[in-house]
């Protein structure tokens, strides 16, 4: 997917009149409507790699916890079914973990939408309005082009859940050799999560919590796409979201926290 550059692309200007590094790129499509380049290529790739690995990790993980299929039995231990399932789980686990490492690295290089965070007052007031919006109550929820604060918070929680699953997962991974260098990197978890049985329990419970997150996440995206006509779903493929010019200004105000002139056709 080519980065949108060249003719027809405009960007909002900072006070100095220069393009600010974190600002997203806008593209006028028709009077009153703009396309915003929200999800940059690496973020989109990460999103789908992540989705796929969670699916694989979940299926293989549930099999490890509760082997629901048996190998064809010859009476000898000559199959390697659980063995392969575990290997797939472990390889995918490394992809999942590296994905997160990369995503955190991208926080320093991506556009504004890659690094929204809840440590602002505006975030929490916006959150309150968003909650009211989803409860069908009268609200003053602004339009958001990136994530709304509620979605944002859920992604942060997803990050924490991922961290717990990754930490406990690597404990389980190195558990057979706690006395080695790698084992010593994880054996401190006894003191945080409890004994081996508890660590395994954390891993299994948070695996399920992640799946519940995924279900809600998919519903919310589909809903947003249909209700707001914002192109949420295709945005994770193309990178662009469509927005009404007026809404964009509203969103800009909320994200940047200041009113500024937009030159968006």
């Amino acid at each position: 997917m080519a980065e949108p550059t060249g003719i027809g692309v405009q960007t909002p200007l900072g006070e100095t009149g220069k393009i600010r590094r974190r600002d997203p790129i806008y593209q006028a499509v028709e009077p009153g409507t703009v396309k915003v380049y929200v999800w940059e290529f690496p973020v989109r790739v990460w999103h789908w790699v992540n989705a796929l690995s969670i699916f694989v990790l979940f299926v293989t993980g549930v099999y490890i916890g509760n082997p629901f299929v048996h190998a064809a039995s010859s009476g000898e231990a000559d199959a390697f079914l659980m063995g392969w399932v575990r290997i797939v789980h472990f390889i995918t686990a490394f992809i999942f973990t590296l994905g997160w490492v990369f995503r955190l690295y991208w926080v320093f290089f991506g556009n504004r939408y890659t690094r929204e965070h809840p440590f602002r007052r505006r975030f929490w007031s916006g959150m309150w309005e968003t909650v009211k919006y989803y409860l069908f109550l009268p609200n003053r929820k602004p339009h958001y082009v990136g994530h709304n604060p509620l979605a944002m918070l859920s992604y942060w929680l997803f990050g924490v859940m991922s961290l717990i699953v990754i930490l406990t997962g690597f404990f389980l991974f190195f558990e057979p050799q706690l006395d080695t260098v790698f084992g010593r990197l994880v054996s401190w978890m006894f003191l945080v999560f409890g004994d081996s049985f508890s660590i395994r329990s954390w891993h299994h419970i948070f695996a399920w919590l992640i799946i519940l997150f995924v279900i809600v996440h998919v519903y919310m995206s589909v809903r947003d796409d249909l209700v707001e006509r914002s192109g949420t779903i295709s945005s994770m493929i193309t990178g662009y979201k469509t927005a009404k010019r007026a809404h964009l200004i509203e969103a800009e105000e909320d994200t940047a926290g200041e009113r500024k002139t937009l030159d968006v056709g």
Binding site: A77, V85, R200, S201, H204
Partner: protein, 372 residues
């Protein structure tokens, strides 16, 4: 009894009992092997036995079933007499000693005064926080324990009750029982020998190690001797090939059970239990639970008693004593979330008109504001 001013060494005592030098060396070699030391360590063991007196041991029972004592006296390697009478001096043990009452309690005091900082306090069973729940010779057990532990060279917690709280501390824990290790005075080293009961050899070998090296053996994060608790049973199990193959016994009577398949689906706790059963086995190496077809119930793991049912794969909700079948609960929660989504989606459709109207209002307002 080793009460003389100048204490006799183990070797001297042996010679007095008519043991020849040759026999003595045989025993020293056997002990070296039993401890899993290299053959070239034999001279170290011999030297230790030639220069060190027997190790005084005070063995106290608290809230326990005396399982560790029973297991201890059934050690085969190094066999019980060798360790018990050649290397340690078991000065006090409620279950084994002939004396009782005031005489027995006074004997503890005598050992404490004669060998301060030299004796080992082997503790079995848990200690209650509930006042009056356990008294020995009229005194709260906790008080006696602290006093004897304060002057000990080290405390060796024998069995899962002493190491983790065990069965007395299981739900609903009526006596507020805790592990004895929670009561060890600061500065006194301790180690944990968990198991319900621990394997006899693990207890005797640990004491033998202290005699020979004069120090506690190397321990892991949870203060268990690495030599015996380094590995999970799962990583040493003879049924492991069936685990990797994906072949599991489903009940105790099916073909899989007869074929010796892995007991994972019968709730085997081998994957979370650290113990030496798979290597040392029980009853002098005769067999061990998983070999004889019974899944491990995790008797050496903390809180194993509250992780019931033993014969199913469950997970424990962190910080509680509640176990669940994760797949069943997960499926129910997925259903609940799906129902919630259905309700929310329906509400979205019903209220759509109203929300859209409101939005148009806002938009009109905005358009005016920015002067268009």
């Amino acid at each position: 009894m080793a009460t003389a001013v100048k204490r006799k060494t183990i070797y001297e005592e042996q010679r007095e009992q008519g043991v020849t030098r040759r026999e003595f060396l045989k025993v020293a070699t056997a002990i070296t092997m039993a401890l899993g030391l290299k053959l070239k360590m034999v001279p170290t063991v011999v030297h230790a036995m030639e220069t060190r007196p027997r190790l005084p041991v005070i063995w106290m029972d608290f809230q326990s079933c005396s399982g560790p004592t029973e297991s201890f006296i059934r050690s085969y390697q190094p066999n019980m007499q060798k360790v018990l009478f050649d290397m340690i001096a078991l000065e006090y043990n409620g279950a084994l000693m002939a004396g009782s009452g005031t005489a027995a309690e006074e004997h503890i005091l005598k050992i404490m005064n004669e060998y301060p900082g030299e004796y080992i306090l082997a503790a079995e069973g848990s200690l209650p926080l509930l006042p009056g729940a356990l008294t020995i010779a009229g005194r709260p057990a906790e008080e006696t324990f602290r006093e004897v532990a304060a002057k000990a060279k080290a405390v060796v917690a024998m069995g899962s009750c002493a190491t983790w709280g065990g069965i007395p501390a299981a739900k609903p824990n009526p006596t507020l029982a805790k592990a004895v290790t929670d009561f060890v005075p600061p500065g006194v080293p301790f180690i944990r020998i968990p198991g319900c009961p621990p394997i006899g050899e693990v207890m005797t070998n640990t004491l033998a190690h202290i005699v020979i090296f004069g120090t506690l053996p190397e321990v892991d994060e949870l203060a268990r001797p690495k030599a015996y608790y380094r590995h999970r049973l799962h990583d040493k199990c003879q049924r492991r090939p069936f685990f990797d193959a994906g072949l599991y016994a489903e009940t105790f009577n099916d073909e899989g059970a007869r074929q010796g398949y892995c007991l994972y689906k019968l709730g085997c706790r081998g994957p979370t239990t650290y113990n030496a059963c798979a290597e040392l086995r029980w009853n002098g190496g005769l067999s061990w639970p998983i070999q004889s077809g019974h899944p491990c119930i995790g008797c050496a793991a903390p809180n194993f008693w509250d992780e019931a049912p033993f014969y199913a794969r469950v997970v424990q909700l962190p910080g509680t004593q509640t176990t669940i079948n994760p797949e069943r609960v997960g499926a129910v929660m997925t259903g609940a979330v799906a129902a919630g989504i259905a309700v929310h989606a329906a509400a979205t459709v019903i209220t759509k008109g109203r929300i859209t109207k409101k939005k148009t209002d806002v938009k009109a307002q905005e358009d005016i504001e920015i002067g268009q």
